[in-house]
Symmetry: C2
């Protein structure tokens, strides 16, 4: 029987990890570089995983590890899964292990390992429901081209859209225009368009504009408020199939920057789902990964 | 005084041209490769322009040309404009010439050179209003990331979105799912997602799905009808600022595949704008370019 478990949350911009004893007491926290094989350089990701595992193993025998769980995007791809398996083999793990999607580890963290629903609205937006038996339903999370509703990218895109439509007279004037101009250091619509369609532009750059919505909304901007309401409505909609799946009697945890930082979106979301218990995520995804590891040995 | 004028419409997938006498009688039609400097190889575009001009000059003296007009996307950029000027110089044109945006030549063609509004809904969507004095207003056309409403790309994206949302239970079932699967030769949602986010995917591939909307709608699919209505509404919205600019007393011409081929979108669009005269585009953009050339010498 091992002495400890490891949980790791591997994200696209950084990774975090937790080592805990078999009672779930935290022994050590780890931090590292990005761990997401999709679209990334395999060698760098390999090194990042090895590095974060090494931090957790400092002063511990790998043979004493009872279980390890890693959450990361893209593990539904067999080549991605194989990479994780290879690294665990190489590092000497022989204990039970689980490689799962980052939404599963986020779910376990947010709901402290219990059944329920998590809605994660960061750059993208996704909802995961898990019932008592451990069966799960995923809603949304199909990427920025067709399924970004409620995410920071969605909000950023609607902000830019509002600026353009105010400019050419299709929609109301909005103070989002001056906020966007100020944040991006541009002065004209052609400059803004050049910024948007630059080959260097990533969806994260557009998602980063989402923070402007709160200031505009607090200053009474109607367009900003409509965008916030639309985001809240879409995020609540993600819960519908999950609530059906779980029978409705469960908690809904909110996670990710949009729902955690934007007060109005969160309140609007709660108002739509007022018949249910909406809570803030209790823990982060690395803690959730640790809980999932613990479940394997209990 | 010259003997003829040349009009050229330079598109991103191909170009067309017209030579006419000074009374506007067509003397010759030309066809050639893409002419759009934005994001394209300059040498190829140079060759394509020279080639289409050559076709028009066959049996004619360049010194007899009274005026030439070329319409193309991206001419608001000074480097793009300079390329066109350079080619005209090289080819020996000394007559008056006009290098303008493709929406201006489309406008002139669609409205036979008269004042009014043109709404062009192809891969993208844009509206241009030109008054009697020749002053113009542009609405929309700011690209697929923030301003695609009503375009074929918009429709294609909403189709894919509907398929995903029907799959995970957020929205109604739709026969668009089987139509998309059939057209793309995919069988599962993961295969569809792989198709959408492939690095080879272009916005034209997604716009090409727009044709499916008509079949689904004719078979009574509610989701398809909602998408058609939303596209029509957005295209009509493009006209509002242009109608204000022109004082409302003008014709609105529709152009591009979405409004020309999709009966329900066109009828819905006409219904929203029932207080105005909506016509089909009278001529194509190359004919419009010829009319603009003719205006320079009259």
């Amino acid at each position: 029987m091992g002495k400890y478990v490891i949980g790791i949350d591997g994200g696209g911009t950084g990774s975090k990890g937790v080592v805990a004893d078999l009672d779930g007491n935290i022994l050590c926290n780890m931090k590292g570089g990005p761990i997401n094989y999709v679209g990334a350089d395999t060698r760098t990701i390999d090194e990042n995983i090895e590095n974060i595992i090494e931090q957790g193993l400092k002063g511990r025998e790998v043979s004493d590890c009872a279980a390890i769980c890693i959450g990361s995007a893209g593990v539904s791809r067999s080549d991605v899964l194989a990479n994780f398996e290879r690294i665990l083999d190489k590092t000497g793990f022989t204990c039970p292990h689980k490689i799962t999607t980052d939404s599963h580890t986020a779910h376990a963290g947010a709901l402290n390992g219990e059944e329920g629903i998590v809605v994660i609205a960061g750059t993208g937006a996704i909802c995961l429901g898990v019932n008592k038996a451990g069966d799960s339903i995923r809603v949304g999370g199909y990427g920025h081209i067709i399924d970004d509703e409620g995410s920071a990218y969605y909000i950023g895109r609607l902000i830019l859209r509002a600026v353009i439509r105010a400019f050419d007279g299709r929609d109301k004037k909005t103070i989002l225009s001056e906020l966007v101009y100020g944040k991006l250091g541009v002065n004209t619509i052609p400059e803004l368009i050049t910024w948007i369609y630059s080959s260097e532009r990533s969806k994260k750059d557009i998602a980063a504009l989402a923070v402007l919505i709160e200031e505009a909304s607090e200053r009474g901007d109607e367009v900003a408020r409509e965008i916030e309401e639309s985001a809240a409505k879409e995020l609540a909609k993600l819960c519908e199939p999950a609530l059906n799946f779980l029978g409705g009697d469960c908690r809904i945890a909110v996670s990710g920057s949009v729902l955690q930082k934007n007060r109005r979106i969160r309140e609007c979301f709660k108002e739509i789902l007022k018949d249910y218990t909406v809570i803030n995520a209790e823990h982060e995804a690395d803690y959730g990964a640790m809980l999932l590891a613990l479940k394997m040995v209990k």
